[in-house]
Subunit: 447 residues, 2 copies
């Protein structure tokens, strides 16, 4: 871990009963950590504590003891349970030993009054509490809400600490971070951007991939390689500290060369399974490659019920390649809308190679699309048989000028998991079709 | 805060570079905090730390110092950066002063081997590391993945502490929490379930609802009423501490009576906007009420691209009422598959009252469904005009025997937000149709 100690550390503190009690999902910490990383800081801890003065103050003190930059979110509203102002003041007393009275910031008062006037409302006097700040902290303007932020620079045992308090709502927090906190961080000594590159691998499994790149994954390496898996997709992250010497199984001497070598190694051992060399979604990759190849896509979904279409259309500009699709949940709709032969449904059942192929062919024909993907399976919890247990899914694919194919999978997990693995696998099969790699079997494919 | 101090405390620790660096959003903490609250515990802190042995061990020790139940998530994979097993062992050494060697759990080894065998694969030897546990901890079976959990009971300064380590993927973590951790928590001394009841309100807005039930929402009340909002749905939670006296604007003296009064009050002020009196999804409520009324549903989606179908089919047993749908992303598909008149597309554009109505009628006809919902709008980021800015969405609905209707909305936020608000609003409009309440306007409806 010596290498990471050379990057300035940052820590995050989220404040709010609603967060700590699980009534609301904290999305700010992820956003902030990501941004701080890009700025060259290493985030070392997130904490979430309730609206409790003692816990807020103690957490700020502890986090400032381990990290040079502490970003505090929430607790800046006008009500009695908004305690971040007092919490920061007490933390500053504890770290500096000096008194830190709360003072009313004149600019903040003017800004809050002006905001209410613009809205044609009278400012409740209770809102004045939002203009308070510790005497030695700066007040940060909030163009998107009534809660100003606060920024304090303190000396903890001879080391400069930056403590910033930002409002909780993302649309207020994010601009304030960009306008006031980013410049303050850039001016800190020792801040240098670290570099992150990504390879996404689908269909190979995390353990299998990790065993193939074990020599790259030693924790002391620079660049460091880590993996995370999510519904079939394994994301390999290659992170380099440009200020450190190369360490690991690399011929290169320069960090950037070593990154390229690591990326190339992963590409070699995962040949046929690389979904993307960027941090993106399978849907976005499929759409991009379809557009580049001048191909359009249609979908025919049974057990996923629109999930593949939803993932594709979640991407802006998806209409460049996605024509549309069908949710043929009932057998009647499979027959009537996609022309699946009743004989196939009768003889083989809806979850079969024949029906998956016919659904794909029907969707391609009716949508006039170049590529069509189909899914028919048993997502559970009910509907399984000994022959076709829950998790059995057939995925069909047809590409113009080629015979249709259908491939069988057996996914584990609950209904949501079976559906998401099915949708991701279908998207990757679409990629394989466009790339001419349909012969590469996925790890979880049934022969 | 006096009442809450009487409840046993819990703390959460999430482990993973990808979480602390902001590469992945942590949704487990919210889920766990919510569940722990229902079990009668008060969650007092969440922490997220990187894959770092020292930080993992120290955090477990610190959290076990403040809370009787510590739930640790993640870091149980087979790779070198999965350090929760070692972290727990070191934390146990630090708290008990006794050696805690890692031992291979025989049952866990068998379960992992069997899992690979069932999948027809050979277990990589690296996976054996997942069967390790500290000598004094229990191994928890994981039916949904290769990572067993761990459960340790330790004595910290004379107080019993429960430390549970669960896998990171939600579909593995959640069942393990329910199967192994909930019973262990219930058996702890001093744990009394607080009772939680819920009313879901759609289409009224959180501020408006909160102002109508302000007297119920004082923080000192018992039962306490809180609201959270998510994409148009406001969930009112009525939480009672059965061991405390009733406090608030209630005639009742018994906590359970007071809960009923609070629920009835909310129902009165939100008349016409109550989606459900359970904590469920709009899709589940719509399906349940459709089944009860003997009605079937079809969907025709443009800008949501399958999201409504996906939400409906995410519910087990959705085939009882959902026939299927169309993702008519292109105008050509709207015409050809749903029979939308070309003249309407030309004269009014795809995002119009006329097209929304025609889509709904076409979907109902072709699917042979009793109710059809349609969505056509501009989700952004591009495609907006001054007349129809991004966020403009028409939602159509037809119910057998009634003329089709279309309603216009203007949603804020990014593409994902517009799509989710659109889908939720369509589901609620479906509910209104089934309930015969289509005349009740939603707060964000355009006249």
């Amino acid at each position: 871990m010596t290498k990471t100690l050379q990057r300035p550390l940052a820590a995050l503190l989220s404040i709010g009963d609603e967060l700590v009690l699980g009534e609301k999902l904290d999305t700010n910490s992820k956003w902030l950590a990501d941004r701080l990383g890009t700025l060259g800081l290493l985030v070392t801890e997130h904490r979430t504590v309730p609206d409790n003065l003692e816990k807020i103050a103690n957490s700020i003190v502890q986090l400032a003891g381990m990290a040079g930059v502490v970003i505090v979110g929430g607790g800046l509203g006008p009500t009695a349970d908004d305690l971040t102002r007092q919490g920061l003041a007490r933390a500053l007393v504890l770290t500096t030993g000096e008194p830190q009275p709360l003072v009313e910031d004149a600019d903040a008062v003017r800004a809050i009054r002006a905001r209410f006037e613009r809205a044609g409302r009278t400012m409740p006097e209770t809102n004045l509490v939002q203009a308070l700040r510790p005497a030695n902290a700066l007040s940060l303007p909030n163009p998107h809400g009534t809660a100003p932020g606060m920024l304090a620079r303190v000396d903890v045992a001879g080391r400069l600490r930056l403590i910033a308090c930002l409002p909780g709502p993302p649309r207020e927090m994010r601009p304030m971070f960009e306008d006031a906190i980013e410049p303050a961080i850039r001016s800190l000594p020792g801040v240098a951007r670290s570099e992150l590159r990504v390879v996404q691998v689908f269909g190979l499994g995390e353990s299998e991939l990790a065993s193939r790149i074990a020599d790259l994954m030693h924790r002391e390496n620079n660049p460091a390689v880590g993996t995370t898996a999510s519904s079939g997709m394994v994301t390999c992250r290659v992170r380099v500290e440009p200020t450190l010497p190369v360490r690991g199984p690399y011929d290169a001497t320069e960090p950037t060369q070593a990154v390229e070598e690591a990326l190339a190694s992963i590409g070699r051992v995962a040949k046929g399974y690389v979904a993307s060399r960027e941090n993106t979604t399978l849907a976005a990759t499929l759409l991009d490659e379809a557009v580049a190849a001048g191909l359009t896509i249609a979908t025919a979904e049974s057990c996923t019920g629109g999930l593949v279409g939803q993932l594709l259309t979640a991407e802006p500009g998806s209409s460049r390649a996605y024509a549309g699709g069908w949710v043929t949940y009932s057998n009647a709709m499979k027959e009537r809308e996609l022309g699946v032969p009743n004989a196939d449904l009768e003889a083989h059942g809806a979850v079969s190679s024949e029906v998956a192929r016919a659904m794909a062919v029907g969707a391609a024909d009716r949508a006039g699309a170049d590529v069509a993907l189909s899914i028919t399976g048993i997502a559970g919890p009910d509907g399984g048989t000994s022959e076709k247990p829950v998790g059995t899914v057939w995925i069909g694919c047809v590409k113009k000028g080629q015979p249709p194919v259908a491939r069988c999978f057996r996914f584990g997990g609950d209904r949501a998991a079976v559906r998401l693995w099915s949708a991701n696998t279908a998207l990757f099969i679409g990629l394989q079709a466009i790339r001419g790699q349909s012969g590469v079997p996925l790890l979880w494919e049934r022969p």
